[in-house]
Symmetry: C2
Subunit: 212 residues, 2 copies
DNA sequence: GGCAAGGGTGAGCGAGCGCTTAGCGCGCCT
DNA sequence: AGGCGCGCTAAGCGCTCGCTCACCCTTGCC
């Protein structure tokens, strides 16, 4: 009911904006490889091979291997920010909006675990300029969640002694899903999203959601 | 008051058990390098250089670069497990023991951020055999926290609908400290430990600790 | 049908990787 | 005092890396 971000097939179709088809296939292959083995351990030959191309084809569409990571990271962060903004600026009480934000953010990390891993864990592999841009996007992500929590404190729904610290913890909890979530594990992304929304509402001292 | 794991100098003196002095210096250099740049991006020349030795010196004390990572990971996990066991098997209510476990576990991740990063994020860089051993240690870590939560549920102190899921979330929250904690940031490890202990008690529905 | 344009390939460059080997110098045992 | 062995280094092996270059094959326009 609360996710405006889905498209038809469950996983949405990400990377639709990457325009030459071959460039998108290469980028998708890079996401897979970076998530599996890490940026530095991934070779350009591996990326090109996954995309069914020769190693040289990569350099027609991207100037360097790092440009691939930069593109992935920027698009991924914009998507994450978009998800949080949609929840944050929706209607409803702060409690409802926080639950919505957490559950949809968590679902995104669980479903697109490969993408999320690259986005969240390969920041340090970027050069200084690219990193600075991404750090700016992260600050906006933080501000979005902090805004909801501040709303809840103002309205008396939440009891939060340390708003910046709690914001940090909420985001940290969601982001770490990308590290441990296992597609073959016992939980679906939806179940984790619901569990985490409940836990976060407890963290901010909101009335229990009555879930489960 | 609750930390039995400290020694003199704040950071404890880890790696005391690594016996030839040169081997310890190499291992310490490897921890630094792995934490900064990641395992795959670290060269054996870099490790040896940080330890003030020639590249070949590394192979007198360690068979391969991976053996260094394995040793770091095993010692680190044993230390983390030790911290949790000390808190878990201490005296006091489940509430007190959970707060103690979380705050000391978080302090370890914040203080020894370099070590913790390697321990928590470079698991996949190990070969199958070494990884299996480490995964076994992680299961023990999980069991220790789950045990405290189960105690609290049994005694009526906690209200936890999903014990395994909540255990996962608590550990995830603590571990992710190693990703974001910044030594030059506004929070001390002690402050983060106290904040997180409070947040976790809220997550399990324990009465508020009255901290701050 | 000829031809420019551009996406793609095979081969390979210089560099840096993990790791090995031959040999050196210093401390310890007698 | 002599010699042995351990800890270490300089040099370098074979390999793979990110990336480049000369060339080809297809496509669309006249």
């Amino acid at each position: 009911m609360s996710t405006a971000e889905e498209t038809a097939g469950g996983e949405a179709q990400p990377w639709g904006e990457v325009t030459p088809d071959a460039a998108r296939r290469l980028l998708l292959a890079a996401v897979e490889a970076f998530a599996e083995r890490g940026y530095h351990a991934t070779t350009t030959r591996d990326i090109a091979g996954r995309a069914g191309m020769s190693p040289a084809a990569l350099y027609i569409h991207y100037k360097t291997k790092e440009e691939l990571l930069h593109r992935i990271s920027r698009i991924g962060h914009e998507k994450a920010l978009d998800i949080l903004r949609t929840a944050s600026r929706g209607e409803g009480t702060a409690t409802e909006r926080l639950a919505d934000a957490v559950s949809s953010f968590v679902r995104w990390h669980a479903r697109g675990r490969t993408t999320a891993r690259v986005v969240q864990y390969e920041l340090d592999s970027l050069g200084p300029g690219a990193r600075a841009e991404i750090v700016g996007l992260r600050r906006q992500v933080d501000a979005e969640v902090r805004g909801i929590i501040e709303d809840g404190v103002r309205s008396g729904e939440f009891d939060v002694p340390d708003v910046p610290g709690t914001t940090l913890a909420v985001l940290s909890l969601c982001i770490d899903v990308a590290r441990w979530f296992n597609v073959d594990g016992p939980r679906t992304p939806e179940q984790v999203g619901a569990l985490y929304a409940d836990l976060v509402l407890r963290m901010v001292g909101a009335g229990n959601t009555g879930s489960v």
